[in-house]
C-alpha cells in the first residue's frame, strides 16, 4: 500500500509512471522507485523461492545487504530488487531457486 499522505513527509509527489511486467502481468510503477517498492505497492509479497525447499522469500533488510529480494530482471537472475530502480518496459520475474539466465542469442 502506498503512503499517499503523511504527517511529516506530506503528499506523495505526483511523479511520472512507467509500466513494468511482473511474471508477464503489466504493472504501473513510479519512476525512480526500486522494483521492490513497486511490487509492494501492488501487494506482491514474494520475490523468489529457495533452491532446495522452494520456500517463499521476500525482502528482509531493504537496503541491498541481505539479497533475500533477488529476482530475475530483464533475464538476469540474482538482481537485488530493493536497490534496483524500475525502468520502462522492465521485465521482472519471480526467481525459482537460482533462476535461469536468458541467453542473449536465444
Amino acid at each position: 500500500m502506498r503512503v499517499v499522505d503523511h504527517p511529516i513527509l506530506g503528499k506523495l509527489p505526483e511523479g511520472r509512471t512507467v509500466e513494468i511486467t511482473f511474471d508477464g502481468h503489466p504493472l504501473e510503477a513510479l519512476e525512480g522507485e526500486p522494483i521492490l517498492a513497486a511490487l509492494l505497492a501492488h501487494g506482491i509479497q514474494r520475490c523468489r523461492t529457495t533452491v532446495k525447499r522452494r520456500e517463499p522469500r521476500w525482502f528482509y533488510c531493504g537496503i541491498g545487504r541481505c539479497t533475500d529480494c533477488v529476482m530475475i530482471v530483464n533475464g538476469i537472475p540474482n538482481v537485488r530488487t530493493c536497490v534496483t530502480t524500475v525502468g520502462a518496459g522492465m521485465k521482472i520475474e519471480t526467481q525459482e531457486g537460482l533462476g535461469r539466465w536468458e541467453r542473449a542469442d536465444a
Binding site: M1, R2, V3, V4, D5, H6, P7, I8, L9, L12, E33, P34, L36, A37, L40, A41, Q45, R46, E55, P56, R57, W58, F59, Y60, C61, G62, I63, G64, R65, C82, V83, T85
Partner: protein, 548 residues
C-alpha cells in the same frame, strides 16, 4: 588508478561530516558510497533529533541530511555514488567498482565511515515473507512511501524499535505490540511514551517464539521469559499480525578494516568488534581513520561529531589547518563528551575510553566498569522506565513539573522528561527563559513556573514530544490540555474527541479548542482540547482516527 588526498568511504552522517570538514580545510576529498543517494540512513529519520541546540537538535534527520548534502557540495567534496568499495589494500589503496569495472583509488588518507548493519534474530518462521528488520520497514515507508504491512509486531524496545513503531503509526500502520526480552525498555522513555499514549502495548520480558504462515506471516506467537531469558511454559500468546519487525541491535560494518589489517577490540557495549582508534580517530594503521557506527554503535549526532573529528585530523595530518586544528578538534571532542553523558551515554563513554586505552597499547588495567551499578541504577532509581509510562508521583517530583499552586493559577507548561539524555532544544524555545538545563546537557530540564506564561512554544520544540500545556482555569468545569500530535488526519476545531491517558486508554470526552500548525512548528501540530477538570493530570492525547 584515481588519486586523491583524502578518500571517505560511506556518505552517511559520519562520512559526510568528515568530508565536509576536510574539504573546508582545503584538502581534495573524494566521498564514495555504494548507494545511489548519499545520506546513509539519515533520510529515513523523519523524527526530530535529540542533542544540543547548537547542533541540529530538534531538526528532523531528513532535513539534517539535506543540509549536509548542501554543505558537501559547497565545500567542494567530489562524490561518487553507486560505487561499492570492495577492498582496502594496506592503508592507502581502495578497490572500487565503477561503471561495472574494478578500479583502484589511491589516497594519502582514508576515512572509513561504513556504518553498521542490523542484527538478525532467528526463530521458527523467521524466513517467511513479512519478517524484516525494523530498518527495512523504515526504508520502505519513509523513503519509498510504501507500507510494508498493516499489523506489525515489533521485536525490541531500544530506540530503533520504539521510533520505527511510532513511524509505522504515522504511516498508517498498526503496531499490535512491542516486545522486549529485557525486563525494561532499552530506549528513551519519551520515545516509548509516544507510542504508549497511542495505545501500543509494550511487553517487557517477552520474546518471539514463532512466526506462523504458509506464504507469508499470518500470526506470531510470543512468550514471556524468566530472569535467565528462558521461555515460561504456558505464557504463550498468539497475535494476529502480517509483519514482524526485528529491532535487536546493530553491528559495526568493519570489513574494510579487517581487510586492511588494523587492530580491533571486542567491546560488547559498542556492538562487537570495532577498529581501535586514537584521539584523532586514526586506527593502528597510519593514515587510516574511522568515524561513526563502525567505531561503535551510537547515534547520528555522535557519528557526525566523530566524522568532523576524523576529517579535521586527516586534513591536519596533510598540513592543512595548522594551529587552528588543535582548538577545532578540542571543540568537537567536548561536544562528543557531552553526548556521552548520563545513564545512556556513560556506558558508551567508558567503552570508548577502553578503546582508546587499548589503542595506546595500555590494555585497560583498571577494573572493568561495573555497568550494572553505574548505569542501570541511575535510570532505575530515578523513574520507572519499564514501559515508559510515568506515574503521577514520579512526575510531581520532577523539576519540569509545576507545583499544584502554579497549576491552579493558570496556563503552564508541564515537562514530562525524566531521563538524563543529551537534549536541550526546549531551553532555546522558551522566549522567557523559563526552562534551564544545567550544568550539562544531560541534566533534566528545570521549569521556572513563575516565568512560564503558557505560550506553548516549547511543545513542538521537544524532540521527545514530552511537553504539554495545562490550563486549569479554562472554564469553571473544564481544563484545557494541549499536546503535540504528529498524525493524520488532524482533528477539527469544535469536534468531539476521545481523550486518552498516558497508556492510550480512553478516559473522557473532549472538545477540540485549537489546532496550531504554523511552519515554525516544523510539522509538529499542537492540539488543545477541553476536558472535564478531574482529568487534567491524566489526559495527554486523543484517540487516533482510523480514517486517513
Amino acid at each position: 588508478m584515481h588519486e586523491v588526498e583524502i578518500a571517505v568511504v560511506g556518505a552517511g552522517p559520519a562520512g559526510l561530516s568528515a568530508a565536509i570538514e576536510a574539504a573546508r580545510a582545503g584538502a581534495k576529498v573524494l566521498l564514495l558510497d555504494e548507494n545511489r543517494k548519499p545520506g546513509g540512513q539519515l533520510f529515513k529519520q523523519i523524527h526530530k533529533f535529540f542533542g544540543s541546540k547548537a547542533h541540529y537538535a530538534a531538526v528532523r534527520g531528513i532535513d539534517i541530511g539535506c543540509r549536509l548534502l548542501d554543505e558537501a557540495q559547497e565545500s567542494g567534496v567530489e562524490t561518487w555514488l553507486n560505487i561499492p568499495v570492495w577492498g582496502l589494500f594496506g592503508n592507502h589503496t581502495l578497490a572500487v567498482i565503477r561503471d561495472g569495472r574494478a578500479q583502484t583509488v589511491r589516497a594519502k588518507k582514508i576515512i572509513l565511515a561504513t556504518g553498521a548493519s542490523e542484527n538478525a534474530l532467528s526463530f521458527p518462521g523467521w524466513t517467511l515473507p513479512g519478517v524484516m528488520t525494523a530498518g527495512a520497514a523504515q526504508t520502505m515507508m519513509n523513503i519509498h512511501r510504501v507500507l510494508p504491512g498493516q499489523r506489525v509486531l515489533m521485536v525490541g524496545a531500544g530506540n530503533i524499535g520504539l521510533i520505527v513503531s511510532y513511524q509505522l503509526l504515522q504511516a498508517g500502520g498498526e503496531v499490535v505490540a512491542v516486545i522486549e526480552a529485557m525486563d525494561q525498555i532499552g530506549g528513551y522513555a519519551v520515545h516509548a511514551a509516544k507510542i504508549r499514549r497511542a495505545g501500543v502495548p509494550i511487553l517487557v520480558s517477552h520474546t518471539i517464539r514463532e512466526a506462523h504462515g504458509r506464504e507469508q506471516v499470518e500470526a506470531a506467537t510470543i512468550v514471556q521469559v524468566d530472569e535467565q531469558m528462558q521461555p515460561i511454559p504456558g505464557t504463550e500468546r498468539r497475535l494476529g499480525v502480517d509483519t514482524v519487525c526485528l529491532a535487536v541491535g546493530l553491528t559495526p560494518l568493519a570489513e574494510l578494516g579487517w581487510m586492511a589489517g588494523c587492530g580491533f577490540a571486542y567491546i560488547p557495549d559498542l556492538g562487537g568488534f570495532v577498529p581501535l582508534h586514537d584521539e584523532n580517530m586514526e586506527t593502528t594503521l597510519p593514515g587510516l581513520y574511522v568515524a561513526g557506527d563502525i567505531t561503535g554503535i551510537e547515534e547520528a549526532n555522535s557519528a557526525m561529531e566523530e566524522g568532523r573529528l576524523a576529517g579535521l585530523a586527516a586534513a591536519e595530518a596533510l598540513g592543512y589547518l595548522r594551529e587552528e586544528a588543535i582548538s577545532r578538534k578540542a571543540e568537537v571532542r567536548q561536544r562528543l563528551d557531552s553526548l556521552r553523558l548520563g545513564p545512556f551515554g556513560e556506558k558508551r563513554q567508558r567503552a570508548k575510553e577502553r578503546l582508546l586505552g587499548e589503542c595506546r597499547g595500555q590494555l585497560a588495567k583498571q577494573e572493568p566498569p561495573d555497568v550494572s551499578k553505574s548505569c542501570q541504577d541511575l535510570t532505575r532509581s530515578r523513574i520507572t522506565v519499564v514501559t515508559g509510562v510515568l506515574s503521577l508521583e514520579e512526575l510531581a517530583g520532577s523539576p519540569g513539573y509545576p507545583s499544584q499552586e502554579r497549576l491552579r493559577s493558570g496556563k503552564v507548561a508541564v515537562i514530562e522528561c525524566m531521563q538524563q539524555i543529551p537534549c536541550d532544544p526546549c531551553v532555546g524555545a522558551c522566549p522567557r527563559g523559563a526552562i534551564s538545563i544545567a550544568p550539562t546537557i544531560t541534566d533534566l530540564p528545570v521549569l521556572d513556573a513563575e516565568k512560564c506564561n503558557g505560550c506553548g512554544l516549547c511543545l513542538p520544540a521537544c524532540p521527545g514530544l514530552a511537553i504539554f500545556l495545562v490550563d486549569l482555569t479554562f472554564s469553571p468545569t473544564e481544563t484545557l490540555v494541549a499536546f503535540p500530535y504528529e498524525y493524520l488526519p488532524l482533528p477539527k476545531v469544535g469536534t468531539e474527541v476521545e481523550a486518552v491517558d498516558r497508556e492510550g486508554h480512553v478516559v473522557a470526552r473532549g472538545r477540540v479548542v485549537r489546532v496550531q500548525n504554523p511552519p515554525r512548528y516544523d510539522r509538529t501540530p499542537v492540539i488543545s482540547i477541553a476536558i472535564p477538570k478531574e482529568f487534567a493530570q491524566v489526559v495527554r492525547s486523543i484517540k487516533r482516527s482510523g480514517k486517513r
